[in-house]
Structure formats: structure tokens, C-alpha cells
Symmetry: C2
């Protein structure tokens, strides 16, 4: 069983992803917002991730590029509405292959006993239909793989 939970309630416009990381909140937040290590976890393992822009502050722009094994390029970008370290990030999200369909993502980091951190990401989509399309595109598997990779990176950082 995956340690990541992906919840998409019927008729709602959002997808909620939660994961408990065995790492303290400061480390999770710092790792999540570090452009140097984003390529190590953001996205599925079979894609190469490049950080084009990542200005982690209000109004900052982020843009990540995926290269797949067939030479295709997929870019994603957005802006940060709020960066409240180490608790909360609110940003917009747009997949450039489907332009004009903008989502709003709220990510929260909660301290749990025993040095653990509860990660929650709520993605709000412009319509139920767009959300269904995202689910059908394999988002659930992708999110689980991404969370596993972040978990592995956090374990590695703590073992150093």
C-alpha cells in the first residue's frame, strides 16, 4: 500500500494529496523549496526534470521542464501567491500543453510528534471536467511516485 493518499471527491473541483514524512518540518519545507534538489523528486522517475525558474516568494515565478525518453518536452509553470515558511505555500499551476487551464495549489506542512511532518496539497481546478481529465491522465500514480521520491530524498538527507 502506498503511503500517499489521493482524494478526489465526486463532483468537487479539487484533488487532495496527503503524505506523512519521517522528517522534521523545517527539513521538509527547505527541501520542497530548494531548486537544487527539485530535479531529484519532482515528477516520475522516467522523466528528466529541469528547473527553469523558481523564485520562492510572493509574486515569484516557477517553471519546471520535463524531458521524456522520446524527446518530448513538457513544461509547467505558475506564480507564488504566498510563501509562509515553514508552514504553507499557495501558488498557481498551469501545464503549458493545456494552456489557459489554471489551477490553485495550497500546500501545508504540519508538525507531528516524533519529528514527522504531515504534508497536504490541495489542488483546485477550474472545473470538475478539468479535474477528471487530470485524474485520467495518470495524476494519481504520478503523485504517488513523486511523494515516494521526496521521501527517499528526505531519508538520504537525514542519513548524511
Amino acid at each position: 500500500m502506498s503511503k500517499t493518499s489521493v482524494i478526489a471527491e465526486q463532483g468537487k473541483q479539487e484533488i487532495v494529496i496527503t503524505r506523512i514524512f519521517d522528517a522534521p518540518r523545517d527539513l521538509v519545507f527547505r527541501t520542497y523549496t530548494n531548486p537544487a534538489t527539485v530535479p531529484d523528486w519532482w515528477g516520475p522517475r522516467n522523466l528528466k526534470t529541469t528547473v527553469d525558474r523558481m523564485e520562492v516568494e510572493k509574486g515569484g515565478v516557477w517553471r519546471y521542464i520535463h524531458d521524456d525518453p522520446d524527446g518530448n518536452v513538457h513544461a509547467h509553470h505558475g506564480v507564488y501567491h504566498e510563501v509562509a515558511a515553514p508552514e504553507r505555500i499557495v501558488n498557481t499551476y498551469e501545464y503549458e500543453g493545456y494552456p489557459g487551464s489554471v489551477g490553485l495549489v495550497t500546500t501545508t506542512f504540519e508538525e507531528l510528534p516524533g519529528g514527522k511532518t504531515k504534508f497536504t496539497e490541495v489542488s483546485l481546478y477550474p472545473s470538475v471536467e478539468v479535474r477528471e481529465g487530470v485524474l485520467q491522465s495518470g495524476m494519481t500514480e504520478g503523485a504517488m511516485e513523486l511523494m515516494d521520491r521526496l521521501d527517499e530524498l528526505l531519508a538520504k538527507l537525514q542519513s548524511q
Copy 2:
């Protein structure tokens, strides 16, 4: 009957406002994005509106302040995800009196025959509950008054 339509479908997380302005799209877009005239239309007539920040470009921050007759101050802010003149603006929205509840607003400007413009604003709220709270706070009347004021300003600008 008001010329502004406010639609909030049951169970959805959004409010859709539409209005047809008797003004060409370029003028509507320019007026909508002009900090100098925002105080003339943004908000109800009994509040004084001040533009604190308004950087109309990707990643730009906007912040408007309302002073009410009792000396209370209400501030609103957000960031621009996209500014595609003269067609479309996507921005975040947060009322500082209710912090942490961030919405996503998509505004489109469509050319209609006869030099008219169809204005559509879709506001996506973090939950159905927050949307209901916004509706109960008098948002519908506020939006209608705001749209009437923008209409008046557009008429004045065209009569010059």
C-alpha cells in the same frame, strides 16, 4: 433589472459574473488595468478605494485598500498569474480580513458586434462553504454596483 448577471450554481465552488459593456474591448481592458482609475470603480460607492500596489504583469502584486465611513480599513491583494491583453487576466485574490482563504479569478474580455464587450469573471473559491460566506457577505450587490460604476466610467471616457 441590473445589467450584471451573477451566477452561483449550487454545490459548485465558483461565482460567475458577466456584463456587457457598451465600449470596445481595448478600452475596457485598458480601463480595467489602469491604476489611476481603479479608485473610480473598484468597490461600492460608500468606500474610498486606494491602490497600494498594481503591477499588471505575470508575478506582479496588486493590493487595494478600502476605507469605510467608520474609519475601518479593509485590504485585498493577490498576484497576477497571467495578463494577456486585451483578452484575459488570471490572478489570485485574498481578503486580508479573512487571511489564508485564497481564490483564483479568471477575467475574460470578448469582442461583440457593435463595439461592445462581454466581460466574464469566474471566481474560484477554496470550498463551497467559503463561497457561501462570500455570497452572504453581500458580494452580489457589491459586484453589481462595481460593474455599474465601471460602465459609467467607460461612458464618460467615450464622451470625452
